[in-house]
Symmetry: C2
Subunit: 185 residues, 2 copies
């Protein structure tokens, strides 16, 4: 897999990539250790500040890295990376350096200490905005503070998890822009 | 659009339909009034109890109906309903009976007073499980208490909103079941 060259992207527009509901890879760092986990339970919560809510189960090795560092990067993989996405979810950062094992490139982020995954289509640098629901629901509310997106393709083939080992691959993109009332886009 | 015949579906498996991130239609009822809104900001939060978190902006007419009744139904439309989905988001329940205007069939639910939308592929009856984040984030945590899913097609063509009037239509479904470590599905 090749490293994708990225450009800056407005943080208040990350819904473009996250609202359709793709599986993402969450990278984290704490005291010299890094990790990657797969995540499917996330949603946009606000445009500005750019808030993303997500569940990170306590059993994940990443849970403590993210809880303690109060940071992560949400990375957007595409279908060419699907086997890697599955394999990342199959092993634990407790005994595996996932960047090394899966030959992924850790690139420095700008606003956080967690690394970007170079091979992903997009990288969203996040800081914990509200941790009040971590205890009860493992629910983290992050603010996206910096976004990087590859110039092409325009419509990346993201993968969307359905459970039971099945993934839906992003299909045709159609516009209904002309049908929307202004202000409702 | 035809009414879809449904069968009962296990509530702890609703991720099958919601985790891929489709646009949904939320129906509600309060004191004899019903309404429908489109929603894209939702995610699975737990299998059992079956929890779904979602943002319902305060400007929506549905907000007060759902907040007061503490109930709603999350309905899953498919691409044949896309124009209706857009049009539902373009008008307000304050001055429109959306079931009548869009010729949608309100069917009685089993566990809640909000109606099912008969033409949708699936209907998930929800009761408010936690309203603590409504004030700060318009964030509702629902428990799915009853699920109804059409027998076919197996893979409904859901639509996934990207903002700016653009929708991604659900594409190919591929399995990596054999690649998963048992227990990680």
């Amino acid at each position: 897999m090749a490293i994708r060259r990225k450009q800056d992207f407005p943080v208040h527009q990350v819904r473009r990539y996250l609202e359709p509901g793709p599986i993402v890879l969450v990278s984290s760092a704490w005291k010299g250790e890094t990790n990657i986990m797969t995540m499917g339970w996330h949603s946009v919560m606000e445009f500005s500040p750019s808030l993303i809510g997500c569940v990170i189960a306590g059993g994940n090795h990443s849970f403590e890295l993210i809880r303690k560092s109060k940071q992560c990067v949400i990375n957007l993989p595409t279908v060419e990376m699907l086997d890697t996405v599955v394999d990342i979810g199959n092993c634990s950062g407790a005994d595996t350096d996932k960047f090394a094992r899966f030959s992924l490139t850790a690139q420095p982020a700008e606003q956080v200490d967690a690394p970007l995954i170079g091979e992903c289509h997009a990288n969203f640098e996040c800081r914990l905005a509200d941790g009040k629901l971590i205890g009860k629901y493992n629910y983290f509310i992050f603010e996206v503070v910096k976004a990087h997106v590859a110039r092409s393709p325009k419509h990346p083939k993201t993968v969307h998890y359905m459970g039971d080992g099945q993934f839906m691959v992003a299909g045709e993109v159609i516009s209904r822009r002309a049908r929307f009332r202004p202000g409702m886009l």
